[in-house]
């Protein structure tokens, strides 16, 4: 057990800190994918290797060797300095790695650099109203007509559709193939005629997502990544990564600390919630769970450093982390009582309503990206080697 990063990394950490101290004044204070300040900041980060760090220089990245610890140090220091880590989003986190792995050289040349610089903003078109947990049953079709794919259907849960220049999406191109083999991975411009975007309000009452409808949308046939029918494999090349990112234990820790602050500052009948032993007992249970997930995360990190797979420790992360966060946020509402109900703009609202917001948002995350039920299937089948459910003979009676 050695929790130090070693001298080389201590030096690197110092470098990062110096950079932040020196350039902090240039950092954007608000996210906004179109703001020049954000783009300039992103450019500066790439130059110094704090963004697009391991992307080859020929595609606009910094070209460093992958180094998990350096990546982590960058994240830690930028978080500690409360400084933006530059552009994020599904283009950078999902499409770029996908193209690097499976895109054609022309696609790499065309798409990676403008994505990294923020010129191309992307959204993801995977889920459909009838293809959620069972994503492979998606029905949006693309039919080759001359030199174009002609797309019809709809997508849901498309978070940045209204801001995006481009979409990467899964469509059914081989209707007669088995369902996983009939899918292709296409890239399309969001200003193509025939695309309609409708904001999708969720229980937080914010339009965090969109629905996107396609009517005879024509896309040049070369805008396919991989071959026809290979879309499922292309998409899955980077899907696993998304699930893990939902369970950031440092975010849980910072919420827990904020909650402790609340319990020491709010009062009920003149006493602090922290003075209530029943609430304190619940707090201690949460603290232990947050700790356990933090150390579980260190274990995963450590395995990755050794090129190993953390196995079950990794597989349970999404399930445990999202449920923990949902419950922790809900506990904070209990602590605050009626103050915990307040939501919207009002001076009495604690922490900008983030407790209610996150309580609901994390319920969404329990569901999204593989529901807890799907997670348990995965854990038991892949992690514990239990058999898949036998195939059904017939559709169940309704």
């Amino acid at each position: 057990m050695d929790l130090s990063y070693g001298p080389e990394y201590d030096d690197f950490r110092q470098e990062v800190r110096s950079f932040i101290a020196k350039h902090k004044h240039l950092a954007p204070t608000q996210q906004g994918v179109r703001s020049p300040r954000v783009k300039e900041w992103q450019q500066l980060l790439i130059q110094h290797g704090y963004a697009a760090r391991t992307i080859p220089t020929e595609y606009g990245g910094y070209g460093a060797e992958p180094d998990i610890l350096k990546g982590r140090i960058i994240g830690e220091e930028f978080a500690a300095g409360q400084v933006s880590t530059g552009l994020s989003g599904q283009g950078i986190s999902m499409l770029v790695p996908t193209l690097l792995e499976l895109g054609s050289e022309a696609q790499k040349q065309e798409f990676i650099r403008p994505t990294l610089t923020g010129e191309f903003v992307w959204c993801q078109g995977y889920s459909e109203p009838n293809a959620g947990s069972d994503l492979a049953s998606l029905r949006t079709s693309a039919v080759l007509d001359g030199d174009d794919w002609v797309i019809n259907g709809s997508k849901i849960w498309t978070s940045t559709a209204h801001l995006a220049d481009w979409m990467f999406c899964l469509v059914r191109t081989e209707p007669d193939a088995p369902k996983h083999q009939g899918i292709s991975f296409l890239l399309l411009r969001m200003d193509t005629p025939g695309i309609e975007i409708r904001p999708l309000v969720d229980m937080t009452m914010q339009p965090n997502f969109n629905e996107v409808f396609f009517t005879d949308v024509r896309v040049p046939k070369e805008q396919i990544v991989g071959h026809r029918g290979e879309g499922w494999r292309v998409a899955n090349a980077v899907l696993g990564h998304e699930r893990e990112s939902l369970g950031d234990p440092n975010a849980s820790l910072s919420r827990l600390n904020r909650l402790i602050h609340l319990m020491q500052t709010e009062t009920v009948d003149g006493a602090r919630p922290m003075d209530n032993p029943a609430l304190r007992d619940r707090l201690m249970k949460f603290q232990a769970r947050v700790m356990a997930m933090r150390f579980n995360d260190l274990r995963i990190l450590s395995a990755r450093l050794n090129g190993a797979d953390a196995g079950l420790a990794r597989m349970i992360t999404k399930l445990q982390a999202t449920e923990l966060r949902h419950e922790l946020e809900g506990f904070a509402i209990d602590v605050m009582g009626e103050f915990g109900l307040l939501y919207g703009k009002h001076p009495y609202v604690r922490d900008q309503g983030s407790w209610q917001n996150q309580y609901m948002y994390f319920l969404g995350l329990i569901i999204g990206g593989g529901t807890s039920q799907i997670q348990k299937n995965i854990i038991s089948e892949r992690g514990l080697g239990m058999p898949r459910e036998p195939k059904a003979i017939v559709k169940a009676e309704a």
Binding site: L200, F209, E266, T267, G337, E338, A392, K395
Partner: protein, 360 residues
């Protein structure tokens, strides 16, 4: 021996449900939720016509003179429909306060107007259930000063207000020095406001001097609110089961997956005993007075837990659709969340239950 609803109560339930099915559909609820000017007068007027406002008002004052269990039946219907209606505040809390602590003149003045649906009374009791921060109201010479946070029914014509010694007062909405500041919160089917008092004229309910009336009002409020949660939870389960029977994934309706079935079974297993507890707690308040306060505490806390479990689980069964606004499932989720925190959160109420028995 009959543990359950009488024929009259079942009829009442059917009547209210039918009215709400017609007049408080989800799109009507949405309209109320989205529009601050909509006070849901049509719904309340229709309910009043059916006798809901008059339910607990004695016949001598133009009411029907029914009991807490009848009120619980109505609340269950309202919760099931997430209906916006000042039932808890006007027809339950205010009526109980007036009956318990009002003098003859006060009763004669207000109870008939409540009964006919023309007077709507809010309730500022949060401080009596645990005063947050510096909130609190003091009374002197017929005037109130201070702040009552989290008054229920921001749109009322007058307010029932508990002061720091748990005496009860009636304050008109247009009384001098009264501020009514709406508080935005998650459950848009029930409106809450901060009341500020600056030497605001108020009428003391004389029978409330020793604080017992205030506690009795809270007892009945907790039971009726628990019934509201019960209705909301049952409806969420019903929606979840219906959705699971229609939604197909992996070539099967998801209702055929054991995991989904067991989630639904667990919800049912939580709800059924909760229903019996609601019925008994309502019955006990009128008929078994020595158990009334204890069961009122327990039903409040227990339904808070049942409600939380069902709200989460039913949403999960709905998958992504449960998280969106499309089906509006979150209105039930939030109603249950609101009921959990108001009139005393679960830890607080359990501690009261312990105190009632001399355990604390």
């Amino acid at each position: 021996m009959e543990f359950g609803l009488s024929e009259e109560q079942t009829l009442l339930q059917e009547t209210i449900n039918r009215f709400l099915d017609d007049n408080a559909k989800l799109d009507r609820v949405r309209k109320y939720a989205d529009d601050a000017e909509d006070v849901g007068a049509d719904i309340w007027a229709g309910l009043a016509e059916l006798g809901v406002a008059a339910l607990l008002v004695p016949e001598a004052h133009g009411g029907i003179g029914l009991k807490t269990l009848d009120a619980a039946v109505v609340a269950e219907c309202l919760g099931a429909h997430v209906a916006p209606a000042p039932f808890l505040t006007t027809a339950v809390l205010a009526v109980t306060a007036l009956r318990t602590a009002g003098d003859a003149a006060q009763q004669a003045q207000w109870l008939p107007r409540i009964a006919d649906g023309s007077l709507r009374v809010g309730a500022a009791l949060a401080e009596a259930c645990g005063a947050r921060g510096a909130a609190g109201v003091t009374a002197a010479n017929g005037k109130l000063s201070g702040t009552a946070l989290f008054a229920l029914d921001a749109d009322a014509d007058m307010f029932l207000v508990a002061d720091g010694e748990q005496r009860l007062h009636i304050v008109a909405r247009d009384a001098a020095g009264l501020g009514v500041n709406p508080l935005p919160h998650v459950d848009r089917t029930q409106r809450m406001a901060e009341l500020t008092f600056d030497s605001t004229p108020a009428e003391l309910l004389p029978g409330s001097a020793d604080g017992e009336a205030c506690r009795a009002v809270i007892d009945v409020g907790r039971v009726v609110q628990a019934a509201d949660t019960l209705g909301a939870a049952q409806n969420m389960l019903d929606q979840a089961v219906d959705y699971a029977k229609q939604r197909e994934q992996f070539n099967r309706v998801i209702a055929s997956f054991q995991a989904v079935k067991h989630l639904c079974a667990e919800m049912a297993a939580a709800i059924e005993p909760s229903r019996a507890l609601v019925w008994y707690a309502a019955h006990a308040l009128d008929e078994v007075p020595e158990e009334g306060r204890l069961t009122a505490c327990h039903v409040k806390a227990h339904l808070a837990e049942t409600g939380e479990f069902v709200a989460r689980t039913a949403t999960v069964v709905h998958g992504g659709m449960g998280f969106t606004d499309l089906l509006g499932l979150h209105y039930w989720f939030k109603r249950i969340g609101f009921n959990r925190q108001t009139l005393g959160g679960p830890e607080r109420v359990r501690e009261e239950a312990a105190r009632v028995q001399g355990f604390a």
